[in-house]
Structures are given as structure tokens and as C-alpha cells.
């Protein structure tokens, strides 16, 4: 499933020469410095090859001989490594004793690096390789701090970050690790090492028999909040996870080749902004099973969940997809032929770190068409009419989650972020088309209770939750209430009382001379009580409203509205449950929204009339 899909992705990418994925026994790494040597092995130049076009110098990324993760001990990389391994560099410490210790350490590392180069390159008949061997013979790591060519870089090297170096023969353009003969020598060396594996068996990923099994797996980098050196997706780092006397990854026989494939593919995905998004504490990667469709489907998926992600180019397909979702939002049914790339396989994988391991939180595989169907459903459930607050589109997962946060006096979100698990649950419910998390619903109700703010997003979250819950549980009682805009015929008392509350508030405002004239309306004092225990509050409010109506200019209108709404209500319920509290809020929002719509329509009509007059 997961590993298989990743391995398949590696195979697909490896077929494509432009993908930039590393071939077997190689990996991509950052290089900061280039050492130039002459044919006799003398160091004749040192260059900083970092990219300095931005604010910070960024090392270049190149494909180099494989660099397995180093945890402890001495483990040199071939031809491209940190300064301490390549030239035996050591930092000068305040204490002489410390410096000596560092120097001895670096010498050991240098010697290991030298030994590795000699083993791999001894039989290679190539002038660059031979020059390199001569360099290793001549170089004296104890004088590294005095070398004239290194002086300019010493302060950077002493800091020890990003000091990876590579070699080049001065007459050649390519770096030594890029030369074909050297690459071949490296592959031969590694293959020989692999065939000497102590354990072989059937690979659970490809099913091949008698393949050398990987004892440990490469680390996965780029999952948020995981250790920076990377975490393992497959590892057995405590005894109770082991069985049948196996240790480490022999517990799950995966061939060395397959291991390389899936880790490389996953690291590649995590490094690509087009294939990765963060939602709550979960890092999500997604990919299309077809290279041809990837350009269009992947950015679309990303932009649906992360508003900060701007697709590089608004292609015609992206527009087409947006159009599809918009139509669904307005209630149209989705037809298969409307969606491009319907049959493209698509994968979504959610990971979150746990100690030095990665846990799979979520995995979905299916066709792009299914996915669009689910996203469309989500868009339709969230659709709610309202004044345009600058986002006509379906809110991204990020914005939905942010609505559960406390709002400060300046209108900005403050305090702790949304609960960490909520993001993952919301994401799962969107992609799988299941009910939205209950905690999202209760959190929003709590926020409304606490700060009394009922905006379009909050109302649409409540509506979406109830709509989806009703559909999946086959509970159609609230169907009438869960509409795009006000439904005056809806009978549910909770909804009607919500509407009534909006009318009462409006009457009060009008009595005071219009909205915004009074600092505290009945909403600030009574909303919580009215939405949970209507019987205790509404009689007071209605009594109060009689004063407002007699005073206000449109009092009669409000009175009629009130009568109309109250017609369906026999008695004020003593208590509303959480579900009905949501309906109460929705009714309130719908009613208020209809006032805005009335005002807007009136203004539009006025403008039109004025325009018509000007024309005549």
C-alpha cells in the first residue's frame, strides 16, 4: 500500500531523466565548497560555490555518491563530505586541550575518508581519479589551519554548518564525483558490498526471492516537528516491537533496492513544495500516479488546502476544476465528464512524528475523479450565502481551523493554535467524505458563546457539520434549515428562535437610530442564554422589544415579522441541545443575512433607477 506506492513512484521518476531523482547508490546533497586540484594532487584553488543571489548564501544541491545517515562513530562519504572528513579541518578552541582533541578527531575522520577513496578508486584508470589519490597521499591534515588558500573561508568552516566540499580537477569542467568512470567505480564497489549482506530473503515489497535485505532504513527528512536529522518510517527501536528473534529491520524484510527506492521517493516528495502541505501537526504529501497529469492535479490539490500556496501558473485545467467546484457549490450535480484527469490514480499520505519515528496518520489512494467528487461535496456542504468577505471560494482547511482560535481585541487570532489532532481529522473527513470532527463543531459553538461573533465562516462550519452528519446518519430532520440562505418555511423551533433573536436585535437597533448606535445590544447580554435556554430568556426579550417597536420607525414591520416567526412555535423550549444550538446560530445568521441582502437590493435598485433616469 504505502511503501509500494512510494516505490512505484520512485520507479516512475527514475524513468524520467528530467525528474532530478537520484539513481541507485546516489543521493542528492548540499555542496558549499569546491576544491580544485592539479594533476599532481596539489590543492590549487578553493571556491565558495554557494548561491548568493538571495539574502543568505545557499549551498548548491547536486547528486552525489550515497550518504547514509550517520548517527555516531566515523563513517566517511565518498568524494563529497564535510570539511572535517575531506581535509581534516578542525576548529580552534579556547582551550588548547580541546583543540588537540578536535584535531585528533578530525585526523581519524580524514584517514577514514582517505581509506575509502583508495579502496574505491585504486583500479580506476582516469586522470582525475589518479590526481585525487595523489592529493590524499600528499595532504597533511595537521597543517590545515595554515593553508593559504583556506584562510578566507576559515571563519565559515569553524562555524561548522554546511561545510560540505567536493573535488574538481583544474582542467576539467565536471566535479570528480560527476565523472562517469568514477560513478561506475562507486557502483561496482557498492554492489560488491551489498551482495555480502548477512541476510537475504523474500522482499515484502516486490515479492522477489533471495534479495539482500536492508538492516536499517534511510531517514525521512522534512516532516514538521520531527528531528532535523530525519526520522524513520520503518524502524524497530525497542524490543517489544521485535518478533521471532529478528533485530532491526530484519523484522520486515525489504530488499536494499526497494528500501532505497521508497525512501528516495518520499524524501523527494517532502522536499517539493508542490507535493507537500502542513495541516495541524500532520505533514501531508500527495502525488499523482501519472506524470502527465501531475502538473495540473497536484497544484490544484495543494491550493485547496493551503491558501499560502500559489500555483505557479493558472492553467486552463485549474480554471476548469475551480469552475466545477463552483458549480457544485451552487447545488449542481457533478458529472464525470466535467472533471479532467478522472482516471488518474492519486495518493495522499499524512505523516506525523513520534519520537524518532514517523507514524502514518492517514493514507488515501484512489482516482483523481473520486477526489474531486469529495472536494466538491465538501465545497457544497460549506456553501452559505453571505456578503463577500474577500473569499468567494471554499475556505481552506487552514482557515477553518483558525476559526477555533481565540480572537483578540484587534480582531486577530491569539492564543494557542487549534488542537493538534483536529487538523488531521478534518483533513481526513474532507478527503474521505466522512462526517466532520465533532470537536470542530463544539469548539465553534464554544467560540460563539465566548465572544459572540457569528461570521459567515463560523455559520458555514456549523451548517457543514450538520449537513454532513444528517446525510451520513440518514437523519433528515434538519434538511429544511440547512440551506444556502434564509428559509422562512423551516419549522424547527431552534431555527425559528434564532431568526426571532435577530429580529429582536434589529428592533432594538432601529429604536436607537440604526445599527452601530448602541454599544451593547441584547446580543451581548442574552445570546448565550437565548441559544441554550430559550424559555428563560425570550419572554423577557419580547416584553423588552415592545418598547423598541413602539419607538422605532419600522416597528410595525418587525412586529409582523415576529408574529410570522412565532406562528410555528407553541411554547419556548426550556433547553436546546448542542445540535439545536447550531441551528439557532444558523437561523440567526440567515435572518441577519437576509437584512443585508434587502439593504443591498434596495441600494442596487436605487442605483439602477438613478442610472435609468440619467439615461433618459
Amino acid at each position: 500500500m504505502i511503501i509500494q506506492a512510494l516505490h512505484q513512484r520512485y520507479l516512475n521518476l527514475a524513468d524520467d531523466p528530467t525528474s532530478g531523482i537520484s539513481p541507485r547508490y546516489f543521493c542528492s546533497a548540499k555542496i558549499s565548497y569546491l576544491l580544485e586540484i592539479d594533476r599532481d594532487g596539489n590543492l590549487v584553488g578553493v571556491r565558495d560555490i554557494r548561491d548568493d543571489s538571495g539574502k543568505k548564501k545557499i549551498p548548491i544541491v547536486d547528486i552525489v555518491p550515497e550518504q547514509p545517515s550517520r548517527s555516531s562513530g566515523i563513517n566517511p562519504y565518498f568524494l563529497s563530505d564535510k570539511a572535517e572528513y575531506i581535509i581534516g579541518h578542525y576548529p580552534a578552541m579556547a582551550d588548547d586541550k580541546d583543540t588537540q582533541k578536535k584535531s585528533a578527531d578530525a585526523r581519524k575522520k580524514y584517514e577514514a575518508s582517505k581509506a575509502l577513496a583508495q579502496t574505491v578508486l585504486s583500479d580506476v584508470n582516469d586522470e582525475a581519479a589518479q590526481a585525487l589519490l595523489k592529493f590524499y597521499k600528499k595532504w597533511d591534515p595537521s597543517s590545515v589551519r595554515d593553508h593559504p588558500l583556506l584562510q578566507d573561508y576559515m571563519s565559515d568552516l569553524d562555524r561548522g554548518i554546511d561545510t560540505q566540499m567536493a573535488f574538481r580537477l583544474e582542467t576539467q569542467h565536471q566535479m570528480i564525483h560527476q565523472l562517469e568512470t568514477v560513478k561506475q567505480a562507486w557502483i561496482r564497489y557498492r554492489q560488491q558490498e551489498d551482495s555480502a549482506s548477512e541476510y537475504s530473503g523474500q522482499c515484502l515489497l516486490t515479492g522477489e526471492y533471495n534479495v539482500p535485505i536492508a538492516r536499517t532504513h534511510e531517514k525521512i527528512k522534512g516532516v514538521r516537528n520531527a528531528q532535523s536529522a530525519g526520522a524513520s518510517l520503518i524502524s524497530f527501536n525497542f524490543p517489544s516491537a521485535e518478533s521471532y528473534g529478528n533485530t532491526q529491520s530484519y523484522n520486515s524484510p525489504i530488499g536494499k533496492d526497494s528500501m532505497f527506492g521508497y525512501t528516495t521517493a518520499l524524501n523527494h516528495l517532502l522536499a517539493s513544495p508542490r507535493n507537500r502541505i502542513w495541516i495541524g501537526d500532520m505533514t501531508v504529501v500527495f502525488w499523482s500516479g501519472q506524470a502527465a497529469a501531475a502538473e495540473e492535479t497536484e497544484p490544484f490539490f495543494a491550493s485547496f488546502f493551503d491558501s499560502s500556496y500559489v500555483p505557479p501558473e493558472d492553467s486552463s485545467v485549474t480554471r476548469q476544476l475551480r469552475d466545477v467546484l463552483e458549480r457544485v457549490q451552487k447545488g449542481a450535480k457533478l458529472e464525470a465528464e466535467m472533471v479532467p484527469h478522472t482516471d488518474t490514480p492519486f495518493y495522499v499520505l499524512g505523516l506525523s512524528p513520534n519520537n524518532a519515528r514517523l507514524a502514518v496518520r492517514f493514507f488515501w489512494q484512489g482516482h483523481f475523479g473520486n477526489l474531486i467528487e469529495k472536494l466538491g461535496q465538501h465545497a457544497a456542504d460549506f456553501a452559505l450565502s453571505g456578503q463577500d468577505e474577500g473569499f468567494g471560494d471554499t475556505p481552506t482547511a487552514y482557515r477553518i481551523l483558525a476559526e477555533t482560535m481565540r480572537v483578540g481585541a484587534d480582531g486577530k487570532k491569539v492564543g494557542d493554535g487549534p488542537p493538534p489532532r483536529l487538523g488531521g481529522e478534518l483533513f481526513r473527513s474532507i478527503v474521505e467524505g466522512r462526517t466532520y470532527p465533532y470537536s470542530l463543531y463544539t469548539l465553534i459553538i464554544n467560540r460563539v458563546r465566548a465572544d459572540g461573533m457569528i461570521n459567515r465562516l463560523r455559520a458555514s462550519i456549523l451548517k457543514a457539520y450538520l449537513t454532513r452528519y444528517g446525510r451520513i446518519q440518514n437523519y433528515n430532520r434538519f434538511e429544511e434549515e440547512l440551506t444556502l440562505s434564509l428559509n422562512p418555511n423551516a419549522q424547527e423551533p431552534a431555527y425559528r428562535l434564532g431568526r426571532l433573536f435577530a429580529v429582536l436585535e434589529r428592533a432594538q437597533q432601529e429604536a436607537a437610530g440604526g445599527p452601530g448606535k448602541i454599544n451593547a445590544t441584547i446580543k451581548d447580554r442574552y445570546f448565550n442564554a437565548a441559544s441554550s435556554n430559550p424559555a428563560a430568556v425570550f419572554p423577557i426579550l419580547i416584553k423588552l422589544s415592545q418598547h423598541h417597536m413602539s419607538k422605532a420607525r419600522y416597528g410595525d414591520f418587525r412586529d409582523r415579522e415576529m408574529q410570522e416567526i412565532l406562528q410555528g412555535i407553541e411554547a419556548f423550549p426550556a433547553h436546546l441541545d448542542l445540535q439545536r444550538q447550531g441551528l439557532f446560530i444558523l437561523g440567526y445568521y440567515h435572518q441577519k443575512q437576509s437584512y443585508f441582502a434587502q439593504i443591498k437590493a434596495a441600494a442596487d435598485a436605487k442605483l439602477e433607477a438613478a442610472a435609468a433616469e440619467a439615461d433618459s
Partner: protein, 220 residues
Amino acid sequence: MAYGIKLHVWGDNACFTRPEMKVERVSYDAMTPSSARGILEAIHWKPAIRWVIDRIHVLNEIRFENIRRNEIENKIPVSAIKNAISGKSASLSQVVTEERQQRATLMLKNPAYIIEAHFEMTQAAGAEDSPEKHYNIFLRRARQGQCFHRPYLGCREFAAQFALIEPDSKLPPSYYAGSGDIDLGWMLHDIDYGDRMIPRFFRATMRDGVIQVPVFGERA
């Protein structure tokens, strides 16, 4: 295969852990043959017989759910137990607070399967063991809900309910009936206890909700 049996099993949850994801557990999409064998052995097993799984029917939609919980990271070492047996002093305790590991599980929700299987007589069978006898013992025990230990769906904590499907009765319908071939990837077949406990895998394909299990040890 005159003595084939069909057993309906179901439960609230299941986790047929993938070996590659057994630390942060992720379940296979469907029941593995070794797990099915475990369920049958819980109902009836004697050294004289060996269960062979023929087919696994997937009845409900494959759905996943995620949980996290605290578990223990160590086992009590065998050497400590040996010491205790031989009368030396040994600590056989585990301290939860010091050995806590939080682990995630991606498990199946609402699983239900039909196991189709038969048994073979082993060399341990004596003169008093006949296939008829064991077949009838199994039928009687399964009908009455008897078991040596509670059968489970992949992990001990996911208890399995079971019911015998009588030889000529109708099978419950599968969610995947008529859905054609669905590739489930390589799946654990069983452990080869005869050969260094090597795990063997087979390519699982679900055709209309039915996974055909190959003969153990036969190369795909």
C-alpha cells in the same frame, strides 16, 4: 476437500499489522491467511491437523481509523525467566512509567470476513485420528461458540465474534461484490516455522471481494 469449512467472523475493529509498519502500526486492507489460521486454531486445533486457508471473503467496506495509546517498550528477557526458574534471583517486573512508548495504530473499522479453509492430517496423527472426527469436532465447537481462547482480528485487543456458516447455506453479501479485481499488494502469507521462521508473502488480489490464497510455499 470434502471437509472444507466456512466461518463468518466480525468485530468492531481489527489490525492485521503490516510487518514494515509494526512499530507505528498500520493494518493490511484485509485479513491475512495467518490471522485466519489463528482464529480457526482458537476454535479447534490438535497436533494431528493443520489448517489451510483457501479463501478469504471481505464483507464490509475497508475503512481505517487512527488511535494512539501508551504501550511498553521492553519485553521481560528470557534469561531473567530462566534465572527465576533455576532459583536465582531475577526481576520479572516491568515499570510502566519508565518504559512507556506512545504508539499510533491505523486500524480497520467494522471488519467482517468469511474464512474458507480445510485441514490436512499431519504426521502426528495417530490411529484414532480421522478427518471425519476432527471435522465434526470443529463443527460442533463452532456452532456452540466454543473456543480454547478468544479468537481475535490481528491483535489480541480486537476480539472476534464468529459463527459457523452451515455447508449449504447462503453467504452474506460482500460490499465488493461485482467490483472486479482490486490489487492489495504483497501480503504476509504465513511464517515458515520449518525454515528459520522466515516470513513468506503472496500477491493478494481481491476479486469481487474474495481473496484467493495460494498454497503455502508455492512460488508466485
